[in-house]
């Protein structure tokens, strides 16, 4: 039995005896990579507790509602993730154009050190850091030696651009994690009439076709979930009507026709 099967069986056993076997008929929950099986179980047990299924047909609808609700959440998460990722990459691009050289200087040195370590003779690799420091300070004696170690298609300007882009990326990652230094820095840089919302809006504009497709899938899942809920309502109404009729029949059966008997005293009068 797989992990998904076990979790479903466990929750079903907990909520009602005998339901585990019945729910197994529907198969294991269809969870995608990285999705949480306990969230499914939690939702299933809450909906079971609220609906109180009376038969397997109710359970079919409950299984539908749970899987459709998870689908709605899945599509919403995807949409948000798409907008956010695109917004953050816009922010990264914006930051790369605004960063002062002293902010990304360390990254520049790192890039130079990396090139030197890759290309210097083995016995000189230890001096890579020293050479890189001298190079960025403008030491003419080491310039030619260092430039030779740069990849053929990279100029100093391009290496500086790479270092700036790296720094911007790192800052955005720190900003996402909520690190105070990065948050302050980015808020300071974006004070000039732009905010994170600006980038998110830009992302929304650029990804509108993808977002529309996801919204369509979300709407389909929501409509089907609501239809399943309506069917449960309808079944409850049918059950109520059947119960009313049954109760009426029982009561009718209990009634006894009492024939009217004339009172003795009245005749005498």
């Amino acid at each position: 039995m797989s992990r998904k099967d076990r979790s479903k069986a466990k929750i079903a056993t907990r909520s009602a005896p005998g339901r585990a076997q019945r729910l197994a008929v529907f198969g294991p929950p269809l969870l995608l990579e990285g999705e949480d099986a306990t969230a499914y179980d939690e939702l299933l047990s809450r909906i079971c507790a609220a609906v109180k299924p009376i038969d397997i047909v109710d359970e079919i609808f409950i299984a539908d509602i749970v899987s459709l609700e998870l689908e709605v959440l899945r599509w919403r998460r995807s949409k948000w993730s798409l907008i956010r990722a695109h917004g953050l990459s816009e922010l990264e691009y914006f930051l790369a154009g605004k960063l002062d050289q002293d902010l990304y200087f360390a990254n520049y040195v790192d890039h130079v050190v990396r090139f030197l370590e890759d290309n210097l003779p083995e016995d000189e690799v230890d001096s890579a850091q020293t050479l890189a420091d001298k190079f960025v300070e403008g030491d003419k004696d080491v310039f030619d030696k260092v430039i030779k170690c740069f990849p053929i298609e990279r100029s100093v300007r391009q290496v500086l651009d790479d270092a700036r882009a790296d720094k911007a990326k790192k800052l955005v990652q720190e900003y996402v994690r909520g690190e105070r230094e990065a948050v302050t820095l980015i808020n300071g840089l974006t004070d000039a009439g732009v905010s994170l919302d600006t980038f998110m809006t830009e992302a929304l504009r650029e990804k509108i076709n993808d977002i529309e497709r996801i919204d369509r899938l979300t709407a389909i899942a929501e409509t089907r979930r609501n239809a399943a809920l309506r069917e449960i309502d309808r079944r409850r109404a049918v059950l109520g009507e059947t119960l009313r009729r049954t109760v009426q029949d029982i009561e009718d059966g209990e009634f006894e026709v009492i024939e009217t008997m004339p009172a003795k005293g009245k005749n005498a009068a």
């Binding site: 198969g27 397997i56 047909v57 995807s78 069917e231 059947t242």
Partner: protein, 184 residues
């Protein structure tokens, strides 16, 4: 006008050259047009009959009349159809998420764009970073959704049809049960 002689000759020639002749060959070409089998009902596949029977028994309950059993069987078949569609879509999305086909298509598209624009200014690291990157989680799913929307919407048509038919089958089942309990 085609002469009778020519028609006879055509028919004789056609009989002599109509595809594979062995049982194995015929069985193989019989599946040429088969894509996912979702348009076929579950009852047409003996592999699903056990599943359908088990579910039908559960739905009908003990001491069910023949009419109730038949209606329960219809629901079970449609529920199995629905499960098949959902499983097919799940496997499709899982495959896209786990293997590199979706990524590969995206990367090929990028290379094509790059080649067409012939940008001399683009740094070597940009395509390198992109080609070695792998998108994760919800973002990857969003990209798959946007790329495979057509396929997903095609699968959705089967799900919609199965849901609609199941709804009416359940209503008929409920009605039959209600009238049965009333007549008792």
């Amino acid at each position: 006008l085609t002469t009778k002689r020519k028609i006879r000759a055509n028919r004789a020639n056609a009989r002599a050259s109509t595809g594979p002749r062995t049982v194995r060959g015929r069985a193989r070409v019989a599946r040429n047009a088969f894509r996912h089998g979702l348009s076929l009902p579950a009852c047409s596949n003996p592999a699903f009959s056990k599943e359908v029977e088990a579910l039908a028994r559960e739905i009908a309950g003990p001491d069910a009349t023949a009419e109730i059993q038949e209606l329960a069987r219809q629901i079970a078949e449609l529920q199995t159809d629905l499960s098949r569609v959902r499983r097919a879509r799940y496997h499709f999305l899982s495959d896209c998420l786990s293997d590199s086909h979706a990524n590969a298509r995206m990367k090929l598209k990028f290379i094509r764009r790059l080649a067409q624009r012939k940008e001399p200014d683009i740094s070597i690291e940009t395509p390198e970073k992109f080609l070695t990157s792998t998108r994760q989680g919800s973002h990857k799913l969003a990209l798959i959704l946007s790329q495979e929307a057509k396929q997903l919407l095609a699968m959705d048509r089967y799900e919609r049809r199965a849901l609609s038919r199941r709804k009416f089958a359940i209503r008929a089942f409920d009605k039959a049960k209600a009238s049965l309990s009333h007549s008792r």
